[in-house]
Amino acid sequence: MDDLDRRLINRLQLGVPLVRHPWQALAEELDADAAQLRERVQARLDDGTLTRFGPMFDIERLGGAFTLAALSVPEARFDRVAEQLAAMPEVAHNYRREHAWNMWFVLGCATPEGIAQTIARIEAETGLPVLNLPKEETYHVGLHFPV
């Protein structure tokens, strides 16, 4: 990763300007060529440094719903339950965390009822109670990783 890559990644995490020709605007800002910038973004997507390029939607403002939830999974069943959750499209992220509640995941659904149904399904399929922690207030969302 060279200096231009770093500046590009730092800049693109903040969002592209919503102007008629965004790549041209970025090229002028970063003192580079627009086509070259796009090639570099593609290369960083291809090598896995970037996972996505596109709009970051607030699903709730679009009528959808999501929640943070957790399970306390017995060690012997951990991988099997992880597979069960991985197969559900409603499960967006799932992380193992070192705690009695050892599996933490985000559910995203098109409707609030979808969340309740998905939780009921997880409880039925795993036989484990789900800890459901919908957010009540957002104080900050702003992932930015300077490189």
Partner: protein, 173 residues
């Protein structure tokens, strides 16, 4: 998206909501790296470039689109340690302290969530760092800021990614 949240805006007309729904379907997996992305979108939405750009600007102003951005794999960038710090904060103080914790540069997400049986923490702040020491230091800073309003705390460190696909809802209506 059947229940758009802003109710009084004339842009909530059915055709606008239909455009928004199709915009989400077209772009939730990502935007192509083309010279003229708004023209690419406009063509698929069956509308003009001007209408497309105005729609994007409006959704961003309303917060339905946070930004159109690149999402890094933070593990690849060296941020291999993340901790979900959780705090039991006095209800009378959380409206003041939540925004304060959220405004710390090292906090990527900060939410108030309900207490539940078996779970008594109501403030969540996610921290990321390049080492275990670094996230411990962030946790200590948060503890300092919360002071006596905090009754209990924990930090849940992630040790394995089991799934990471991002939120995709348009195909599951």
């Amino acid at each position: 998206m059947s229940a758009c949240t802003s109710r009084s805006d004339p842009s909530d007309a059915p055709e606008s909501m239909e455009l928004t729904k199709r915009l989400v379907e077209l772009t939730e997996a990502g935007l192509p790296l083309v010279d003229d992305p708004w023209a690419w979108l406009a063509e698929r939405l069956g509308t003009s470039i001007e209408v497309t750009l105005e729609l994007l600007q409006r959704l961003q102003t309303e917060g339905a689109i946070r930004r159109i951005a690149a999402v890094p794999n933070h593990y690849r960038l060296g941020y291999r340690h993340n901790g979900m710090t959780v705090w039991d904060v006095d209800d009378a103080e959380i409206a003041r302290l939540g925004p304060l914790i959220g405004s710390q540069a090292f906090v990527s997400h900060c939410y108030r969530r309900p207490r539940q049986p078996g779970w008594h923490y109501n403030l969540f702040a996610m921290v990321h760092g390049r080492s275990a020491d670094e996230i411990e230091a962030y946790r200590a800073e948060i503890r300092q800021l919360l002071g006596s309003a905090c009754r209990a705390e924990d930090m849940l460190v992630s040790s394995r990614i089991l799934k990471k696909t991002g939120l995709r809802v348009s195909s599951r209506r």
